[in-house]
Amino acid sequence: MIAPDWFREDRLPHIYCTGCGNGTVINCTLGAVEEMGWKREETVFVSGIGCSSRAPGYILTDSLHTTHGRALAFATGVKMARPDLNVVVFTGDGDLAAIGGNHFIHACRRNVDMTVVCMNNHIYGMTGGQGSPTTPPGAISTTTPYGASEPAFDLAELAVAAGANYVARWTSYHVKELTKAVAAGMQTPGLAFIEVRTQCPTNYGRHNKLRRVSDMIEHLRSHAMLVEKRDRLVQEGKPVPDDIFTVGELVRRNRPAMGVKS
């Protein structure tokens, strides 16, 4: 296992379903933490409610498992009181973009110095697969039985527009790239937002003809397009398929940030 010093091994195996991508995201985040050389007593993990938000419970540091959608509000509080701590937030698409949407844009606007890892599985996993603000148009969920009819949020673009200093997107298949992106985010002062498209075979795959874990991974892999490639297609005036999502580093900049360790 990765980062054995950081896992609460007595809590494993975790509650996630077979093939759930959340476990992979924990691996990659802890891999990045190890790379950073952070100390356990100087690191805090914060989360809201959801399958993804259970992640801090498996990590051997102090953590805050807060109310639904409020992880970023609590994390901002931690950072304001103790700027010397390293703060990492685990959140889900429902937690971050539905009930917590306002906290999300304002944390990005304030550019609070922390790393936010969003496990975007396109639905509410924990409560049985209801549609979320990131459910792709046409996708079946328990609240969109005829296919989602609303356009979805692009979380990474939203973070760029709202002002985060570092924004990247990968999938739970791109483990090496994801680990590097999380580490780069941790190094950047200000808010680092890393969106991870993850597979939820139980509540997303099952309803969308992607029942097998390998089908879900193949779906993620084949719909991911590097930002550079997308930009090249746009430049050359070639059509960009509309079912793809971009992966890679979307922004790294130096806006004024709050709560940076002095």
Partner: protein, 90 residues
């Protein structure tokens, strides 16, 4: 070093089967004591990590171990003089 799957953690998702460039993991066929079909290892000594991890002093490749959502893949030290099946390729 020896590649092992911790069957007390593996949930049988077979993601390792999907990612290993050497095809070391094969989908299993038998239920284990936890009622899970864990993958089986096909000549794991071919893995770069089994051969070279100690020499290089760091993790090589390691894709299976990163993607494994259940933290079930590890390399452990071999006991001295553990028997090996040696395959000679011509």
């Amino acid at each position: 070093m020896k590649l092992v799957i911790d069957e007390s953690r593996c949930k049988g998702c077979n993601l390792c089967v999907l990612v290993c460039p050497y095809g070391i993991f094969q989908e299993g066929t038998e239920l284990n004591s936890r009622g899970i079909v864990a993958p089986v290892l096909d000549r794991p000594e071919r893995c770069t990590n089994c051969r070279l991890q100690a020499l290089y002093g760091r993790m090589l490749c390691g894709i299976c171990h990163m993607i494994c959502p259940d933290q079930a893949i590890a390399w452990i030290d071999e006991k001295p003089l553990e028997p090996h099946k040696v395959e000679v390729e011509f």
